[in-house]
């Protein structure tokens, strides 16, 4: 793979950037501008030799497909300049581009904010935020610790959900608070913050959960008590470090807990409500900051009795023990030996591969246990281990069957990859896309249930199920969704900069660099391969697309580009990243 020329309509982009800086996404876009400046410097001084630098654009773009919402000319150049290690470390230390202030700014004075504003914030970050790895990690974590605006009372609550996304982004790699105090990006801190977020309190109904009431006969709510273990931390059965199930003497998997554990957890998880008062409702027309600030303990509603929880560990109870009881429980869960392989495996699935070898999972899980400096659950180190594992490396030998490296691109990430490479932006500076689930079967913080859009153990019926091969994303790929996704991508491609049908809100892709190549079908397809398929296009696909471009009238170069893009974006080779 040779070097490709980056075709950029720099003037247009600069104008758009200036326009954006007047809009609400001030921080985002101006940081983006600073980064573009760095990119220019790199180009003026040429590539420097770095030991772990990708040796080609293809290698860099492949990595960025796994680690970000899609490669861009600038990110490819930067990664090639600084190498994997430095690129990741820079990303880990980059501050969070938050969603909540964006949503609040849009909603200032409205008092009745909408989820559309949150969608806009999410897409703006996915396409333009410099902290791509952090944002991508938040996206991955949002599919493990699922909160959704499709459920419960959360449809009315975009600000608390925006804050929830910010919690995931901050805790993924650590952060400095306004007092310049550092909060480490550890699994325990993440679990603690999630377990005190109003978003999760509403999602899994532990907000205002009360101790047993002998008069009414009410029992504590068992919802979070169960799912925090089943889905967020340890899973249903005991695991080895490589995620293989531990078996009992009869060859059967060993359950991690019983119903009694759930009942005890439920008793621990009593007493939490909004900062504005146990019975307050700081949302909607009463909106206040308590809507998104961490839940606090109300001792009168906390079960003071002793609780026997996971692995017969004791949460002591007693007077004024609400907060320490809950912290104890979360520490017990976070310390369970299953957490490392359970989280490692799901992060591998989200970033790189649906069918990792047990050895790959174990290598990542070992980093979870100890980041090299004795820290347990360092999520930044874990993500780095996921991305830099030999099994995920460029040109790594394929793992033995039935393991197979690669994954179906998440439908929504098909769109963000297109948007990022071709610098998609709207004249009004916004990324308005209110209903992504209609065509992509995914919505940021908008899964149909706490079980996410798909299950980590989903076996696609047919060949893969029979071979025991997982494919989580295939759970949302059916005859309806593959067509509606392809159709929307076609529409997005046709919303190219300069299309007279565009409105000021149209998120337009800049295809000018491709259009300049349209008279040369071979060059055009090679550029598409570089931009969207990280140079991995098969020779057969190349031939088919070159023939297609050749068959489309040369008199309409834009139609040649959009036609080739439309087919590429629906193709199997774009659908599967590997």
């Amino acid at each position: 793979m040779g070097l490709f020329v980056f075709h950029r309509a720099r003037g247009l982009r600069a104008a758009r950037r200036a326009h954006c800086c007047r809009a609400v996404a001030l921080v985002v876009v101006c940081l983006g501008a600073a980064q573009a400046h760095a990119y220019d410097l790199i180009f003026s001084s040429g590539f420097e030799q770095v030991a772990d630098a990708p040796t080609s654009d293809a290698e860099a773009a492949r990595f960025l497909t796994m680690a970000t919402f899609g490669p861009t000319p600038a990110s490819i150049a930067q990664l090639r300049s600084v190498g994997y290690g430095q690129w990741i470390d820079q990303q880990l230390s980059m501050p969070t581009t938050p969603e909540r202030p964006y949503v609040q700014a849009l909603d200032a004075g409205v008092k009745n904010p909408g989820q559309a504003d949150r969608m806009e914030a999410w897409f703006a970050n996915a396409v333009t935020a410099p902290d791509q790895l952090r944002q991508r990690a938040a996206w991955a974590l949002s599919q493990i610790m699922v909160a959704s605006d499709q459920l419960g009372n959360l449809p009315e609550d975009p600000i608390t959900l925006a804050e929830y996304n910010d919690i995931l982004a901050r805790d993924a790699f650590g952060w400095y608070d306004t007092g310049n105090q550092y909060h480490a990006g550890t699994y325990y801190n993440l679990l603690y913050d999630v377990s005190h977020s109003p978003a999760m309190g509403k999602m899994l109904t532990f907000i205002r959960n009360s101790k047993p009431n002998p008069v009414t006969g009410y029992s504590p709510d068992e919802n979070y008590a169960r799912e925090v273990m089943q889905l967020f931390s340890i899973g249903l059965i005991e695991r080895n470090l490589d995620f293989s199930p531990q078996l009992d003497g009869g060859g059967q998997p060993i359950p991690t807990y019983t119903q009694a554990t759930i009942t005890a957890n439920a008793r621990v998880l009593t007493g939490l409500s909004y900062q504005s008062g146990w019975n307050s409702n700081p949302t909607g027309l009463n909106w206040s900051a308590a809507d998104y600030l961490p839940l606090v303990c109300y001792e009168a509603y906390h079960d003071e009795g002793q609780k026997i929880v996971l692995d017969n560990q004791v949460v002591p109870g007693g007077a004024n023990r609400c907060a320490p009881d809950i912290a104890d429980l979360l520490q017990i869960i976070a310390s369970h030996k299953n957490v490392a392989p359970f989280i490692a495996r799901q992060l591998i699935e989200r970033f790189t591969s649906s069918n990792p070898t047990p050895a790959y999972i174990q290598r990542v899980a070992e980093v979870f246990l100890n980041n090299g400096q004795g820290v347990y659950g360092d999520l930044g180190a874990v993500v780095k281990a996921v991305l830099t594992d030999p099994e995920a490396a460029y040109n790594a030998p394929p793992p033995p069957s039935p393991y197979v490296f690669g994954k179906a691109r998440e439908p929504l990430l098909k769109l963000t990859a297109l948007w990022r490479y071709y610098a998609a932006a709207a004249q009004n500076g916004l990324y308005s896309f209110n209903y992504p689930q209609g065509n992509y079967a995914q919505r940021p913080l908008g899964a149909p249930s706490v079980f996410n859009f798909y299950l980590p153990d989903y076996l696609p019926p047919g060949e893969m199920a029979q071979a025991g091969q997982y494919g989580p994303e295939f759970q949302v790929l059916n005859e309806s969704s593959v067509v509606s996704t392809a159709n929307d991508l076609t529409n997005r491609v046709n919303a190219y900069v300069g299309n007279p049908a565009n409105t000021s809100a149209t998120i337009a892709v800049d295809l000018s660099g491709l259009v300049a190549l349209a008279s040369n079908p071979t060059a055009l397809v090679a550029q598409l391969n570089h931009d969207l398929l990280y140079g991995s296009m098969s020779s057969q696909m190349n031939t088919i697309l070159v023939n297609l471009v050749t068959a489309l009238p040369a008199s309409n170069p834009t139609a040649r580009v959009t036609g080739a893009l439309q087919v590429l974006l629906a193709s199997p080779e774009y659908a599967i990243q590997k």
Binding site: P461, G462, Q466, N491, L552, V567, A570, S571
Partner: protein, 483 residues
Amino acid sequence: MTSFSSSRRDFLRKAACSSLAAASGSALLTQLSLMNSALAATSCASYPPVSDYRALVCLFLLGGNDSWNLLVPTDTARYNTYVTSRSGIINPAMPNNSGMAVDSSQLLPVNVLNAGSGHTYGVHPSCPELASLFNSGAGAFGVNIGTLLQPTTKTTYGNGSVPLPPQLFSHADQQGQWQYGQPTANGSTGWGGLMSDRLYVLNAGATIPMSISLSGQNRFQAGINVQPYSISGAGPIALGGYTGSAGTAKLNALEELLALSYPDPLSRTYASKVNNAIGYYNTMSSALAGAPTLNTVFPANNPVADALKMIAKVISVRGALQAKRQVFFVSYGSFDTHDTQVVGQPKLLSTISSALGAFYNATVELGVQNSVTSFTLSEFARTLNSNGDGTDHAWAGNQFVMGGSVKGQNIYGRPAVSGGLFPDQTLNGPDCLARGQMIPGASCDQYSATLARWLGLNDCDIATIFPYVNNFNSPTWDLGFMS
């Protein structure tokens, strides 16, 4: 590209890809006949051609429907027990601090022909259509049904003397077991799919699968060879942007890409999905173009009604589709009412009741009410007692089955320890645990196998697909609700 082994599975897969890439019915027939020969070894029965039409429509209530509020005992003694166990009657003024029992004055009376002496029942006030269907003889309830490996009592549950289904009370696992036909932890197929693997031969000449999903991928319809075809409530979706001469060139290019041999299973699996989308769309859309006008009014703003209306349309063109046996799937929820149950449950139940009522009317309009049986599934029912504003995961519950071939106006199940089909709802009584988690009388596999037998699945194949159902064979596993 590397070449592949020539195993039967690959052979079938390639046949499927090549035939559908051509988007031609005759090629698909080749695929189906290949599958037929491959399946001879797995089906222990033969299925001679049939002339009649039958369809099963599965409505899965995701999240665990609190069906102890769907069918409620209304005679004084049992109603009082129900109220006590549900932590009191619903307090609409304080939905976040409320018991869960429906007020007796609101329950819709149903005349249960096989009710015990002195026993009366009512249906949730949000379900007038279900009550009416029941009273007219077109509806029945399966009661106290859950996942089981063998007959289980509270005593044998407690002392560990019987094997139990793995991961009781877990959504995903219990959903899987209800859809699978056996209470085991692993696997990817469902009884609807395994049944379709065997029965699709009855749809000679058909060019779309026997299973049609209105809710995307689901375990119920996943077979070894026959997989569901997913359409939306608005019907099949056309691939856009492929019209005109340029469109033809683009479609040709896309179909060439889909027909390539890919070295990895993920690419192949995706390619076959898109292939199917294109091929099945042509069949389904041309059939639906000839659909008769459906005059039955379906409720608006109701996704279940949208889905069932589309199913009615597909059934109306069964001749054009050459379908003799079909299996449909719709899922809806969340029924996981850990909180706001007082507000949420009426909406949920109203949605399904009004949709099912309209769907039954549509089958009458189409003259197929005796050929179409609809039924609910849900992974579990919920605790009887309140957690303050909702209920938590439990075990056995009630299901509704509907159609002209249903022996309606009765309740069906296996007797509970307390003696009747309908269990004793006393908390920690003979039939349930401390929070009112009911021990099932009948297994969900009995319920499912009864439906499968009606569709035409041979008892020999039933024993394969529902390997535990014969544990309930005294006197018979068949719950008897189908005529």
